[in-house]
Structures are given as structure tokens and as C-alpha cells.
């Protein structure tokens, strides 16, 4: 029994087969199943509530935003057909696509945009909350028009309309409910190219093609399996045996990358992270003694051998961080105060400081072996300058909890920068964004009125040169205070079979949904 839609798919496949030359030229073929690794298992797929890496990866198939961004961070239309920014930089007018439907068949309208941006995300998404402070009003003159009026110019605003930041949430399901406990969170509904089908906890997440997708012929593949394979070696084996075809960045151990790379029909790319600019660091809980002392923090900064970690743990991929900005983020400045590895200097700083043999608890990131080894290496680095450190084990949920409750001394994390310091950096250092309860805000509780002011001003400056100068000052100030221990700009290679076409074609890589992916297999 073929369902009508399968008939269409078969017909299209037949057409594709009928013109082999075109296929070779890259005419997409329909059909097929994509098997992808997801690591670790996401706590939820509701992208409006949870925004950690794995949730963004799966959620990016289900949810969409108004725009998407190419590898140069230039916007392309997604749910918006066109958009316009007024000359004074105050008014943003989006024209939505016609005929877009949520997975439950309800039409997507400007009311959903308003609800998502103004109600849902403002409540649940700490990063969005800070962006939305710039918005004076949202108007919806008709079903397909949304007008954002800003309080003052805010350059980065055009860069926030991607699924991980501004996912479009169905108003008819969430309005008037408690968002966090809405049962619909377990069966997420968006407008994306794939629909949620099944989540076998601990095993796989299955998404199926959205047959009513508004882009002709897309998505090409029938369904996507995200396989939960908790062990890194097993993930590598799963690729080698053909169980999975795509290994997103970070899913195999870094020392296994060369082995995968040597396999037949295997492509590798480090693209698809331009928007994220993943930067790893250790939160320093400055509410705890003796970490409130800048000399102790400086000592830790100089004690940590990051070049070693890069070479021994990250296969030489990535870069040693120079401070709070990733070098791929706009307005990065490399000429900041010295934070290089220097154990002698670290010892001297520690001797001058208020450190008194206190035990420093290091909370590792529970994202696999590399991170575990990294915590061990840091522990050893610290003990070499005479600090007593211990590793606190945890799982993903426990890690979120401990960070939210500020129950740690040092804690590994890595966060995305979203291309612009006003989007991805200020949230980590703004004094007003430090309330406990979120693992993604100013967890270190860094309080510096001067940088707060500079961040505020720089975000609103119209002239990029002025912004550059302000952010230069910010970087100098923050690096001198060492509120966090900056580690590496992470390099995440995506490994995939070469006959999987287009797995990475935007600045978001595999997180941006598999809308354009097709499989060149018979």
C-alpha cells in the first residue's frame, strides 16, 4: 500500500532516475532516511524552553524562525518572505510567507510571531529577554505582517531571527498555559521541515518529513533518526558500521577524528559554526571565597595549560581563547591583557592572594570523555601551583541544576556567541543578568558598572567604528578582572558520508534543520 504522498515521492524519484545526468549535476533526490548521532540526549525538545546544544540540533528541524543566515552571517528568508529595516534603524517590517502551517495543521500567522517574541520567549529564554528589552512594540496589522518598533537603534537585532534564539511557538497551544509544564512540550509542534514522531528515551528520537512543508519538494528525505549513543567509542563504531551517516561536531572523541576521516566516502567540514563561535571557559563562582579575589582568579588563569589541552584533547583543533570574545565574533580584539600559561606567575599571584588552602570544586561538563579528561588536566594544573582541587561528577541534569544553584567553584561550559557581542557576550557579563536559576546567564555574578555601561552603549551605537572602540575597552576591562577562565575557541568537525548532500550549508551547520539535505544513494 502506497500512501498518495509516497506515490508522489516515488514519481519524483522516478523522474530523478530518468535523468541521471541531472542527478550527477546535483539535482536533489527524494527519499531516504538520515541517521544522525545526538550527544548527549537532550533534556527536552521544546526549543523555546531549553537551548542547550542537543536541543538546538533536534529542535532546529522542528522549529523555525523568520530568517536563517549563511556562512557570512547574511540573512536569508525563512518564515519571512521579505523584510525591511527603516533608515533610522527603528522599524523592522517582516512579510511572512503565505500558506505556512504548524504541524497540527493550524496556520502560522503574525499572531504567533507576536506571541512567541513578546510572551513566550520573554518569559522562558534569558537571552531573548535581554534582546526584547530593545523592542518598544510589536504590531501585527494583518496576518502576514509583523512590525517591530525598537526603542533605539539596535544593530544586532536583524541577527536574532534563527531557531535557537527566536523559535516560532504555536500560540494556540501555549497561550494562557504554564509554559514550562504544558504537556505539549513532550510532543513539540513547530513549522519546520520535520515533525516530531517518537522519542524512545535513551535510544532514539524519530522525526518524519513534514508533508505539508511550504517549500516545494522539500524536505527531500523521508525521516531522520537521532540516535542516542552515550559512549563516544560506540558512536565512532556506529559510523564505521554504517548505523549512522552524520557525526555532528563533538560527537566522537577528537582522537578518533583522523580515523573516521580516513574512511571511504567520508567528508569532513569545520564549517557550520560561524554563527555560534563556540567558546569554552570555566565559570568562576565569585560569590565563594577565595574566588572573590582577583589574584586567585588570575592565578588560576595563568595555571591552566590551554595549549596542552588543545593539542592533547582537541586534536589541535580550535584556538586558545584570548578573552570573553571569540575571534569569529564581530569586534573581537586580540590585544588584551596577558592571560597565557605561566605557572611561575600563577604561583606568585597565589602567594600574594587570600588563598588559604581551600578546596576548589571543579564541575566538569558531562559531555563525554574529552571534557572529563579536561577537568582532570585542570585539576592537575591547579594542584601544580599548590591549589587543592577536586572534581565533582555529574550528569547533564545535575550539571544544569548545580550551575543554576551556583553550587560549584569552577565549572566548565561552552557557549555560543551568535556573531555579535551584544547577542552572545554581554549576557555572560552583565551585572543585571546574574540572578541564580539559569545556567546560561552571568553565572559568575560578575559585577562591573563600567563594563555594563559600555555593553549597553555599544549595543545601541549606530556607527560600527564606535562600537569597535567600546568593545575594545570592554575586553580590556573584563580580561583584567578574570571573571571566568577562558579556555578554547572550540573547533568542531562535522563528519558525514559524502553522498549526504548539503548537511552543512548555513552558519548553523546541522543545527539548521535538514531542509536541504538529500541522499545521493540508489
Amino acid at each position: 500500500m502506497l500512501k498518495p504522498i509516497n506515490l508522489i515521492a516515488s514519481a519524483m524519484l522516478a523522474l530523478a532516475l530518468a535523468s541521471p545526468l541531472a542527478a550527477q549535476d546535483g539535482t536533489p533526490k527524494s527519499g531516504g532516511t538520515l541517521n544522525v548521532v545526538i550527544q548527549p540526549e537532550p533534556p527536552s525538545l521544546m526549543l523555546g524552553l531549553v537551548q542547550n546544544g542537543p536541543t538546538q540540533m533536534v529542535g532546529g528541524d522542528i522549529y523555525e524562525s523568520l530568517l536563517r543566515y549563511d556562512s557570512e552571517l547574511q540573512p536569508e528568508g525563512q518564515l519571512a518572505e521579505s523584510w525591511e529595516i527603516s533608515e533610522d534603524g527603528i522599524t523592522y517590517t517582516f512579510k511572512l510567507r503565505e500558506g505556512v502551517k504548524f504541524h497540527d495543521g493550524t496556520p502560522f500567522t503574525s499572531a504567533d510571531v507576536e506571541f512567541s517574541m513578546d510572551k513566550f520567549l520573554r518569559e522562558s529564554h534569558s537571552r531573548m529577554r535581554t534582546y526584547m528589552e530593545h523592542v518598544e512594540s510589536i504590531e501585527t496589522p494583518d496576518d502576514l505582517t509583523v512590525i517591530f518598533k525598537l526603542k533605539q537603534p539596535f544593530g544586532p537585532f536583524i541577527g536574532i531571527f534563527e531557531p535557537g534564539t527566536a523559535p516560532m511557538i504555536p500560540k494556540h497551544i501555549y497561550e494562557g498555559t504554564d509554559f514550562a509544564s504544558n504537556p505539549a512540550n513532550n510532543t513539540p509542534i513547530g513549522t519546520g521541515p520535520f515533525k516530531f514522531d517518537k522519542w524512545e528515551k535513551g535510544s532514539f528520537i524519530h522525526l518524519v518529513k513534514n508533508e505539508d512543508y511550504y517549500m516545494e519538494g522539500k524536505p527531500y528525505i523521508d525521516d531522520v533518526y537521532y540516535h542516542v549513543i552515550p559512549d563516544a567509542a560506540s558512536r565512532a563504531v556506529a559510523y564505521e558500521t554504517g548505523k549512522v551517516d552524520v557525526l555532528p561536531g563533538g560527537s566522537v572523541e577528537n582522537f578518533d577524528v583522523p580515523r573516521m576521516q580516513a574512511m571511504e566516502n567520508t567528508c569532513i567540514t569545520d564549517k557550520g559554526w560561524e554563527y555560534f563561535g563556540p567558546l569554552s571557559w570555566m565559570w568562576v563562582n565569585s560569590d565563594n571565597k577565595p574566588l572573590d579575589d582577583v589574584k586567585v582568579r588570575s592565578a588560576i588563569m595563568h595555571a591552566v595549560d590551554r595549549e596542552f589541552a588543545k593539542n592533547a584533547l582537541w586534536n589541535g583543533l580550535g584556538k586558545v581563547a584570548t578573552g570573553p570574545f571569540s575571534s569569529s565574533t564581530r569586534f573581537w580584539d586580540g590585544d588584551t591583557p596577558d592571560i597565557t600559561f605561566d605557572p611561575e606567575k600563577a604561583k606568585a599571584l597565589l602567594a600574594e592572594s587570600s588563598y588559604n588552602g581551600e578546596k576548589i570544586r571543579i564541575l566538569g561538563l558531562p559531555y563525554g570523555e574529552t571534557w572529563q579528561r579536561w577537568a582532570e588536566a585542570v585539576k592537575q594544573n591547579l594542584s601544580e601551583i599548590g591549589m587543592d582541587a577536586e572534581i565533582v561528577p555529574s550528569d547533564v541534569a545535575g550539571w544544569n541544576q548545580k550551575i543554576s544553584d551556583r553550587d560549584f567553584d569552577l565549572a566548565f561550559t561552552y557557549l555560543y556567541q551568535y556573531g555579535d557581542p551584544a547577542l552572545g557576550v554581554s549576557r555572560t557579563y552583565m551585572g543585571s543578568n546574574a540572578a541564580p536559576g539559569s545556567p546560561w546567564n552571568n553565572v559568575s555574578n560578575y559585577q562591573n558598572p563600567e563594563t555594563d555601561k559600555l555593553f549597553d552603549e555599544a549595543a545601541l551605537m549606530a556607527n560600527p567604528e564606535d562600537r569597535k572602540a567600546a568593545y575594545k575597552a570592554v575586553q580590556d576591562l573584563i580580561v583584567a578582572d578574570v571573571p571566568n577562565i577562558w579556555m578554547l575557541e572550540l573547533g568542531f568537525p562535522t563528519i558525514y558520508r559524502c553522498d549526504i548532500k548539503n548537511p552543512v550549508n548555513t552558519a548553523f551547520g546541522v543545527n539548521d534543520g535538514f531542509r536541504d539535505v538529500w541522499i545521493d544513494r540508489d
Binding site: R259, E376, I391
Partner: protein, 279 residues
């Protein structure tokens, strides 16, 4: 004592086992002196193969840590966990078994149902659950292992006590007016000791295996270099650096084997009538 040693040494395996165990114990004791540096210290480039550098005889692991130092310090951890958790398990299991066996009847029923409650849950699964609830630290690893390993002790002691309590010397003790505590402590338990000793030697081996398995799964104390941890950390590189899992694996194998051999020898020595070889 002389007899004991003679019977023990009849069992060749037991002597070899004792020799290996002595080596392991010596290693554990001497580790802090021979390798004063922390086994976590990153001393050389990662993945240095064995026998390439005389100072680092067995090479280095994924972070450039000295493998032989890790093995030596791991010996201490393994023996400590094995011994302490066995002692704790005996401390729980012996009294429960003795009380159940001596008083029989309802006490026996109650205590044995309680014991069975623990016995019906697979011990490794229970240990994992316990460690998931506790913070994985060395103390909780020991506690978890003790909690899952006392029921066999209780059952064994109960059986022994049940058979001893009807003997004449116990009746004589009762008639001479001794209290229950004294009878159990002075007359019954000493006679039940041989099988307990044999079981205890096997329990040490069991505990070492359990600790290694837990550490292998990442449920051990992350601040302690143990053999199980070394295998767990090295398993991802087993194709490129097999020796990193092989060496601690051998260490576990030899230690556990030696304890089993010793257990067999003790059995021969302490229960001469049950053995075949000494006949």
C-alpha cells in the same frame, strides 16, 4: 599453625596466589615512596608507548600521565576498597546471620526476609543505583559495595550457627549458665570462623572487581586513580593504545586470581576433612 601452613602449601596455586598478592600489597605500600608524584601529573607527551623511556617504563596515557605510577597507586585503592568493604560487609552480615541462626523462629524469618530483599536485587545494579543517589566518592563506593555484598555472609553464618547451636558443647554452655551473647561470641562464632575466612578472601576479590567495574563506568570517585578508571579512560583509544587498557586489566586479573587461589588454599587448610588433596 604449622599444620595449617603445611596444608595450605599443599595447594601450589594458593602459594602462587599468596606470592602475587604479597607483590601487590608491597606495590601498594611502596607506591607513595617510589612514585612520590601524583599519578595525575602530566609528565610527558600523551600516548608514549611502553619501554620507550626508562623513566616512564610503561609509557603515558591520553593526558601524558605516567602509567606505571597509576598502576602502583591504583593497587592501593583496589586493596583499600577490597579490604574495607569486606570488613564492613562482615560487620553487617555476621551479626545478622548469627542472630538469625541462633534464635531461629521468627527472628530468623524476619532477618532472612530482610536479607533476601537485598539478595533478590542484582548486586551490581544495586551498587549503581546507590552511587547514582550518593555523590560518587571513595567512601560511598566502599559503602555501596558493602551494602551489596553482605547478604551471602549472613546466609553462610546463619547456616553454620544453625548447625552448631544444637551441638553438645553449646548445650553444656547453656547449662553452665552462660548468656546468649557469650555463647554466640565465645563458643559458636569461633567454630564458624573457617568458612567465613574463606568467604572473606573471595569477597575481597569480588569487591575489587566491583570497584573496577564501577570506575570503568565512570561511577567511581573521579579524584582517585584506580585500575577500573584507567581502563575506562583508555577504552576509547583501545585501537591505537591497547596497552593502556591491557595493563590495568592484567593488574585486576592477577589480583583477583591470586585472592581466589588463596581462598581455595585457605579452604584446604581450614577444612581439612573436606579437601581431596590432603587425603
Amino acid at each position: 599453625m604449622k599444620n595449617f601452613w603445611r596444608r595450605f602449601s599443599y595447594n601450589r596455586g594458593a602459594v602462587i596466589g599468596l606470592f602475587i598478592l604479597t607483590l601487590v600489597i608491597l606495590t601498594a605500600i611502596l607506591a607513595p615512596f617510589v612514585f612520590p608524584q601524583s599519578p595525575w601529573k602530566m609528565v610527558q607527551r600523551p600516548f608514549l608507548p611502553p619501554f620507550t623511556d626508562n623513566a616512564l617504563l610503561l609509557g603515558t596515557d591520553a593526558l601524558g600521565r605516567n602509567v606505571i605510577s597509576g598502576l602502583a597507586h591504583g593497587a592501593y585503592v583496589s586493596l583499600l576498597v577490597g579490604l574495607v568493604s569486606t570488613i564492613v560487609a562482615l560487620a553487617i552480615g555476621v551479626p545478622i546471620g548469627a542472630l538469625a541462626g541462633y534464635f531461629a523462629g521468627r527472628t530468623d524469618d524476619a532477618l532472612m526476609r530482610f536479607t533476601e530483599f537485598f539478595q533478590t536485587i542484582p548486586s551490581f545494579a544495586l551498587a549503581i543505583v546507590l552511587l547514582a543517589i550518593f555523590q560518587p566518592s571513595l567512601m560511598f563506593v566502599i559503602i555501596a559495595i558493602s551494602i551489596v555484598s553482605w547478604p551471602p555472609v549472613a546466609r553462610l553464618v546463619r547456616g553454620e550457627v544453625l548447625s552448631l547451636r544444637t551441638r553438645e558443647f553449646v548445650e553444656a554452655a547453656t547449662l553452665s549458665g552462660l548468656g546468649n551473647t557469650q555463647i554466640i561470641m565465645r563458643h559458636i562464632l569461633p567454630n564458624a570462623l573457617p568458612p567465613i575466612i574463606v568467604l572473606a578472601s573471595l569477597m575481597v576479590a569480588q569487591a575489587i572487581l566491583l570497584e573496577s567495574s564501577l570506575s570503568f563506568l565512570g561511577l567511581g570517585d573521579p579524584n582517585i586513580m584506580s585500575w577500573g578508571y584507567m581502563i575506562g579512560a583508555a577504552r576509547t583509544v583501545i585501537r591505537t593504545a591497547w596497552w593502556l587498557s591491557f595493563l590495568p586489566g592484567m593488574a585486576i586479573l592477577l589480583t583477583v586470581l591470586s585472592l581466589n587461589l588463596i581462598g581455595e588454599g585457605l579452604n584446604d587448610a581450614l577444612n581439612p576433612r573436606l579437601t581431596r588433596k590432603t587425603q
